[in-house]
Amino acid sequence: MDLIGGLAAKYCIRQDARGFIELWGLSIALTVGAIATLRSSRFFASVLIFFVLAGGGVALATFWSCYESAGPSLGVVLPNSPARGLDAMICLSSHAVENIEGWILLVVSIVVACGLAVLGVLGPKSLTRRALVFAGAAAALLFAIGLGALLLFGISWCQSSRLF
């Protein structure tokens, strides 16, 4: 890694530190949850592991977009700066913490929905309680769908040419 590259990497860590630390905490919490529920529900544990891996992908994409666009976003286009997708990278990078927090909320609501669904299948014998648990799962899932749509809209709006 060259001088500018090394400085850019550390600059990106500082810029999005809050988001990265929150993602790190989420990944650890999900891993603990997956280990704890592995015996009782393999489905739920695999959902948690999937989100740990996806969270890693989100962190990598966020870091990479900041790293690649660090020079151009500060007004200096380096010889190795990416020619394509630079606006998208700057856009992702400038809203990194908000996007990561949106992602965390999305994951938590999906995990709650899955957890309630599993609980509804395995848990209460009373029909009313079971109906309540499934209604909660549906509400959490609807919230997740809405939030996911909002996140996608926000990212694509930012990446569209309207703001550049």
Partner: protein
Amino acid sequence: MKLAAAANPLYEVLAKDLASRYCPVDRSVFLGRLGISFAVFASIALLLLAFATFGKQSSQRKALTYLVACAVAVFAIGSGALVIVGLSGCSGAYQAGLTWDWPW
């Protein structure tokens, strides 16, 4: 690139910018706060370990408490390392308005 940075004033400005943005106003205060938050997490992990070792609980609960204690310790180590790596890129004066406050 080092040669280029030395030769091209634009690169020099960029390097200065990258090394001064999102840096703490006072590095010693920042590190003190980091140390305090690390100590808090370490204490929580140690308390959980002690609770799991000396508490009267089932083996399954004991294992879960050990797991949570390890998770707290791993979180503290990972986030501390991330902060220190980020901080190591700071040199020179901070830029007003673009400072790194700790913890949030």
